[in-house]
Symmetry: C2
Subunit: 329 residues, 2 copies
């Protein structure tokens, strides 16, 4: 027996794998089990964790402090987070911004029924970026908030490319436009069209004899995904793709450009940025810190749904409040 | 009668003046009174606020929701924050890092005796920088945290220059060394000597016939302040000084440079920065948002001392949790 935080992972894709790696970096935690909808014996994890079938998860009730849900937002989390929060403390990275209020309500009801704490929409956006959007706006009341994403791979846009006939592999990079960033950092408080903030770069491997011109045309005119952006399409070889475009870098910037003083004469710039070699590993690291916060909330007697905006920063840390005041404040 | 947050300001120097300006930017707040140790009738504030003597402050008990303490750390706050927290909710910007634990204990006892909430050491460092040091370390367990200050005016170092015989006016700028910042941003996780992180630039106006060489020598060899840095001394005219060196810009950067993944192969960089035309106006804006957070804590039934690490980010905002989830998450 020890006092380590006992976590479970539901879903073992890139994110679940990242959580396994991140738990290993945190001495105050241990991984009890990975839960999968695949045949458990078919799944070997990086460090050889225990693997169980999702349907047996209730056998672990009382043996896991926090479940970290690592499915996708659209079909997995929307159902899983309310379901599992009846029996476990949970954290998810639900990132369909428009459906967050609805997801929050569903999870809040289930978690309250079960007497558990559920932290939804953790990660970096939503997550750390949200914290900075709120903090920037709260301190600099008069001003504008800007979020830029990239340079990094967008899974949704890469998937859209792969659905095109004749496309074999594809990676889509979202790239912030340097001139726009510069204007914001100079305190010019510009307004932008979609096209002025980001451009999109597509690296595409096609099937033998596929029609490059037709594919390029289909990409750059695709509504919602590419039509509103300046989009560059590069056709590359399979070898080039596998060597250079299979990692998942990402990042971005939140800037609050505000003004204070008589006649708003003082420009004040608040900036938060991330530059990530691995998007899923970073999101996973944030989920693991969030699991610690969830358990502290639960230990305080809280129950229901929460977001990163509702939880003190000290709760994400392994250090005590005394240590934080002494060494970090 | 209205539901505005009623604030008082104790001390009307650059910071107190900044708070008066910041309260004006926040529609949910009103300034009840400024409290001063000067003769009240001698003090005219920017917007003509009510001004009272500090000794009459207890007449305002029950009429002010939060007192914002705007004195200096060394002699004012160390005594005032415990004293006033017996009768009022308070926020201060106590920034003597080494004495924070002692200050916290004193204030905690007094605030608990009075049933009040006291938030100490708010501002940007300590304050927003502390929040980011803790969050960066919590998410990226393996890595290094760096804080760089500047480019900006350090009051303490400028004061040290002014105490030198023959110096009439002086401003000291702390300047981060670009090469060091670059190395950190590249994920090289360097270790630095003091001299390698920051340099110091001094702009000095001397009395007629003062000895430049002696003054320069006294500056660059001054222990604690300048001896451990590369220090440049520029002698300038009074006109140049008054035109170009009387504003109080500042800023800085907190960087967490971490790694995740198998064999720590993914570099992950977390960065928070401020670029401020006016240091006191920005600190004041943070204190005003903090006053809102203090009153929400008080309304929750909390009492005692807190730091920015102990309070959810949503408490600093004028928006409800529902609005924040819908529009900011």
């Amino acid at each position: 027996m020890n006092n380590n935080l006992k976590v479970g992972i539901v879903g073992y894709g890139n994110l679940g794998r990242g959580v396994e790696l991140a738990v290993k970096q945190n001495e105050d935690m241990e991984l009890v089990s990975v839960f999968t909808r695949r045949e458990p014996s078919s799944l070997k994890t990086v460090y050889g964790a225990n693997v169980c079938a999702c349907e047996d998860i209730l056998d672990y009730k009382g043996k896991i402090d926090v479940l970290i849900l690592c499915g996708g937002s659209a079909t997995d989390l929307i159902a899983q987070t309310p379901e599992f929060s009846k029996n476990f403390n949970v954290v998810d990275s639900f990132d369909t911004h428009a459906r967050i209020p609805e997801h929050f309500e569903n999870v809040d009801k289930a978690a309250k029924d079960g007497g558990n704490v559920a932290l939804i929409s953790s990660g970096w956006d939503p997550g750390l970026f949200s914290m900075n959007r709120v903090m920037g706006e709260s301190v600099l009341t008069e001003g504008n908030t800007y979020t830029f994403w990239g340079c990094g791979v967008s899974q949704g846009h890469s998937d859209a490319l792969r659905r095109i006939d004749g496309v074999r592999y594809a990676a889509q990079y979202t790239v912030p436009i340097e001139k726009a960033l510069e204007s914001v950092r100079n305190g010019e408080c510009p307004t932008f069209t979609t096209r002025e903030k980001h451009k999109r770069e597509c690296y595409v491997v096609i099937e033998q004899c596929a029609d490059m011109d037709a594919i390029r045309q289909e990409i750059v005119t695709m509504p919602n995904y590419f039509a509103d952006y300046d989009t560059e399409v590069y056709f590359i070889t399979e070898k080039d793709f596998l060597e250079n475009h299979t990692s998942m870098p990402h990042g971005g910037v939140v800037i609050r450009s505000g003004s204070t003083g008589e006649n708003n004469s003082s420009k004040q710039t608040y900036e938060f940025s991330l530059k990530l070699d691995s998007n899923p590993e970073f999101t996973a690291s944030m989920l693991v810190a969030s699991a610690r916060a969830v358990y502290k909330m639960f230990s305080d007697g809280a129950c229901g749904a929460f977001t990163v905006l509702d939880i003190p920063i000290s709760y994400f840390s392994k250090y005590s409040s005394e240590e934080l005041r002494k060494n970090f404040l």
